[in-house]
């Protein structure tokens, strides 16, 4: 099978691709005009970075770093719900 060095370099390549796509998302977020587009761009950025945290935790052999993935995914969903409620023109407590 693949040696350990090869596995780690494949993982590092995946981390590099995630960073590249996050930079594209951030560029698009900085030049975007309408509000729903910006909201789904923040979503994509957050989900990307959740995977990035887990990959970084495997890459540095540190279990302590993987904690942040679940809150990132959950609070991006909450951000979605708040913005859609605002766009529908309803109060936040409805």
């Amino acid at each position: 099978m693949l040696s350990l060095e090869t596995q780690m370099y494949i993982l590092a390549g995946a981390v590099g691709l995630y960073i590249l796509s996050s930079l594209i998302y951030a560029y698009k977020l900085a030049t975007e005009k309408s509000v729903p587009d910006m909201v789904i761009l923040v979503d994509s950025l957050t989900y990307d970075l959740a995977v990035f945290i887990v990959a970084l935790s495997i890459l540095t052999q540190n279990a302590y770093l993987a904690v942040g993935a679940l809150p990132l995914a959950i609070w991006a969903y909450v951000f979605d719900i708040y913005m859609s409620k605002y766009l529908e023109g309803r109060e936040l407590g409805d």
Binding site: N62, Y64, L65
Partner: protein, 142 residues
């Protein structure tokens, strides 16, 4: 010619200081009260990151949480393991302080938001220049 690492660390501190001064400029110059509050939140966040960066260390190599390294049966680490751990670990004291600072900043911002809503109910606007005009015209003192 300095090393690349030294230049990068100078860049970290300078970009954080630029963020801090940009947000303070926003607090001072923007007319809307809510924009002032948003820039104040960014100011607090940048200050927190600055505090954590002071505890970060060059070539910090992913310390294990416990020096003994086993999770099921804990054994006291010997002096070599402790030395390795202390030579690679980041400083935990600013992180503990920043947890408190985040929560207190949240409380302060909730108070300021309630004050902004009351201000809008009283004057009908959030622009500080219009509020000053209304105070001068209406003869309300302070």
């Amino acid at each position: 010619m300095m090393e690349a690492a030294t230049l990068l660390w100078i860049y970290f501190y300078s970009v954080l200081l630029v963020t801090v001064f940009l947000s303070l400029y926003g607090v001072y110059r923007r007319p809307n009260v809510l924009k002032k509050i948003i820039m104040l939140s960014i100011f607090g966040d940048a200050a927190n990151v600055l505090a954590v960066l002071m505890g970060f260390r060059k070539n910090a190599a992913s310390p294990p949480v416990y020096p003994g390294q086993t999770y099921t049966e804990w054994s006291a680490p010997n002096s070599t393991q402790l030395q390795q751990f202390a030579s690679a670990a980041v400083d935990p004291v600013p992180q503990v302080l920043v947890v408190t600072a985040i929560v207190i900043g949240l409380a302060v911002l909730i108070f300021l938001s309630a004050a902004a809503i009351l201000l809008y109910r009283h004057y009908g606007t959030l622009d500080v220049r219009l509020i000053r005009q209304k105070i001068i015209e209406g003869g309300v003192e302070e």
